[in-house]
Amino acid sequence: MTDPALPLAVRGLRKKYRRGVVLSDVSFDVHPGEAVALVGPNGAGKSTLIGCVTADRLPDRGEVRICGADPFREMAAAAACLGYVPEQPFLYPELSVAELLRFVAAARGLDGAESSAETARLLALLGLAGAEGTLCRELSQGMGRKTAIAAALLHQPRMIVLDEALNGLDRTSAERLVAELDARRARGAAVLISSHDLDFLARWCTRALHLPAPGSWRALEGGAWEAWRRAPTLVGVSDPRKS
């Protein structure tokens, strides 16, 4: 459970809202190099699960370890290992893209020269070249998301969590981001990704965690994963593209 080599370990996670149990004893690991998909219909608990992993939601029970660190107790250690792009990322509206990324680099204690080079590389990768001086409040939704992605990847995290992070990205940027994630996975990083693009998840991920409804979940691994990949659908939700 405390193996620091494991980018993410979740045990017995339970979360209940007033309306009922959303997560019930969820347990899974994410190993280095893996890309684990989080699939399920709206309201099934995907974002709640991600929130519990990233310490944005307080679980009622269970444990989370990011690189062996408890994100609720060892915030700094967990943060050093985690790169998270929320569905609705926060950006300081008063700062420009360059200022925001410089702040992130400084807050994470990154080497100035190296982080500048990495910032420039990520901005070019994501098609944000020329937007460094743009205030974050003036960014489009897609550009804002790209900025958040750059901020999340700047410190070479071992555990990358993406909550609908590909939404709103143009095709070229999305392809480049996927390539970048592949390169990082090759170097040992792991990815937990939530998306409604099931075809993409089926092709790109190595296995999945399926949340068909609030309070229920199942791991799609081995044969179940291969079967799901061939016809990726959400249980109980018809995919209009398949009909």
Binding site: P4, D56, C67, A80, G112, R121, R171, A183, R185
Partner: protein, 489 residues
């Protein structure tokens, strides 16, 4: 392409991640990604004045940053308080770096209104610090807002989750937020000196009393809010006071009980500090020094309580705002009720929506107003002839009107880039939007103004009654204008 297979890649090597059949294979994706070296020069203007450290050195520390060498490194961070303070300054300077009339209006108008009210009503709203009651009243005027604002400042900043995810230490977060609260306390104390300045009275003694109350409340709030937050997520059995708050059935309110009671003790401490500062025992500098020393002694306790509470409370805090789902029939949204029936149809729609949103999102603006207004009206009826009572009622109800105006402005701030767009696509013109918002705001502030007006009318002073109605109209007008200005484009 005969490149070695990427062991992590799970694609079928004939399609890219988006299902296309281009020759964008997993191994070949590396060159597709952006160049490893920056292929362009960053705009110099964006980097000319490094905000958060030089590219090679961190000038505010005088030593270079070190790169994280291990993924889960727990090495000590480099003075993040300095970094956060620089960020704070940069954000505050935004209004000057990128001036926008709407932003200025949203800030300056309410401040100007409040300052104007304090200046013009100086004679009646100025506590007399030569008496013990006046000293304690001034202390409470500082202590209550500081005690209430402590929670949002300490635990609910918009960037809280972002900063925690960056690994900023709790000490640094506490330091910056404690400074914010202190700045608020000092600004409030200075603002309350306006009536003394306006009447030409020496503001030295009132300022000392107000600052003493502010600093004492500030320090007590740091401890009280930190402990309340820790208690909220401790899992311990709720206290009897918390259970009384939820009357045994509202478990979420019972769970949040410590936070509800948290501002009380700091307010009492502030009033007591004001009383001590304004008393005759020992010289004033000694009294102030004692209050400062006592407050300073509380700060480490507050830091400890904050550090203990934040990791578990911060994720929980967002859920405390949870409210039960409203009636699914939409029965609360009534068009054309009361004064709104004379408005154009679209303005009626805006009024109805704004009234419902304000009623749910800023429920306190109406819930707090009723008791203030009823007590004020009763005071007017019983002792409206006394200048002291009149001053107190004017101050309390005026403050309530200002708080309600703040709720209207906050509604506008929450709409940035969202609801206004919805209104535009629905064909609602700015005039209708303004009329609707004004009507909603007027309906809200009437909760205070009507009982006050009724009180004065019953006493036979019709002029004062109409003055309250006029004050409500003007407040609604200013609040609606500021709100729409705050909503932005």
């Amino acid at each position: 392409m005969a490149a070695a297979k990427n062991p992590c890649c799970n694609t079928d090597f004939t399609r890219d991640g988006f299902g296309r059949t281009e020759d964008v294979r997993c191994e070949a994706l590396q060159p597709v990604s952006a160049p490893q070296q920056p292929s362009y020069t960053l705009r110099r203007s964006a980097w000319r004045r490094p905000l958060f450290g030089d590219a090679r050195r961190a000038p505010y520390l005088g030593r270079p940053f070190r790169r994280i060498t291990g993924p889960a490194s727990t090495r000590p961070r480099t003075e993040p308080v300095h970094l956060l303070l620089r960020l704070e300054l940069r954000r505050l300077a935004d209004a000057f770096r990128h001036p926008r009339p709407a932003a200025w209006l949203a800030v300056v108008l309410p401040v100007a209104l409040a300052a104007g009210a304090l200046w013009t009503a100086a004679d009646s709203v100025r506590p007399d610090v030569s008496t013990g009651d006046g000293v304690v009243l001034l202390g409470l005027l500082v202590a209550v807002p500081v005690g209430i604002q402590a929670y949002p400042i300490l635990f609910r900043p918009a960037d809280d989750a972002f900063l925690r995810r960056l690994g900023i230490s709790t000490d640094a977060l506490f330091g910056v937020r404690a400074l914010r609260l202190l700045a608020f306390a000092v600004a409030l104390s200075l603002g309350l000196m306006l009536p003394y300045v306006a009447t030409g009275e020496n503001a030295g003694r009132p300022l000392a009393v107000a600052l003493a109350a502010g600093v004492a409340t500030w320090a007590a709030s740091l401890v009280a809010q930190g402990r309340a937050a820790a208690d909220t997520v401790s899992g311990r059995k709720p206290s009897l006071m918390s259970q009384a708050l939820g009357q045994g059935y509202d478990y979420e309110l019972i769970a949040a009980g410590p936070l509800v009671y948290a501002p009380i003790w700091p307010a009492v401490a502030g009033a007591a500090a004001a009383g001590f500062a304004g008393s005759g025992v020992w010289p004033m500098p000694l009294r102030l020094a004692l209050i400062l020393a006592g407050s300073a002694a509380l700060v480490p306790l507050g830091a400890r309580a904050f550090a203990r509470a934040l990791p578990r409370f911060a994720p929980h805090a967002g859920e405390l705002a949870y409210a039960p789902p409203p009636d699914a029939s939409g029965g609360e949204l009534v068009l054309g009720r009361g004064i709104a029936s004379v408005l154009p149809r679209r303005a009626q729609a805006v009024r109805a929506r704004d009234a419902v949103v304000i009623g749910r999102r800023y429920r306190w603006a109406s819930r707090l107003a009723w008791p203030v207004a009823v007590v004020g009206a009763l005071a007017v009826l019983r002792a409206g002839g006394s200048p002291g009572v009149r001053a107190w009622v004017t101050l309390a109800c005026g403050a309530m009107l200002a708080a309600q105006a703040a709720a209207i402005v906050a509604l506008g701030r929450s709409e940035r880039g969202r609801t206004r767009w919805t209104d535009r696509t629905a064909g609602i013109r700015p005039a209708a939007r303004f009329a609707g918002r004004w009507a909603a705001a007027f309906g809200l502030v009437l909760i205070v103004a009507m009982p006050m007006a009724a009180g004065w009318w019953i006493r036979g002073d019709g002029g004062a009654g109409w003055a309250w109605i006029a004050a409500a109209g003007v407040t609604a007008l200013a609040a609606a204008g500021s709100s729409l200005a705050a909503a932005g484009r």
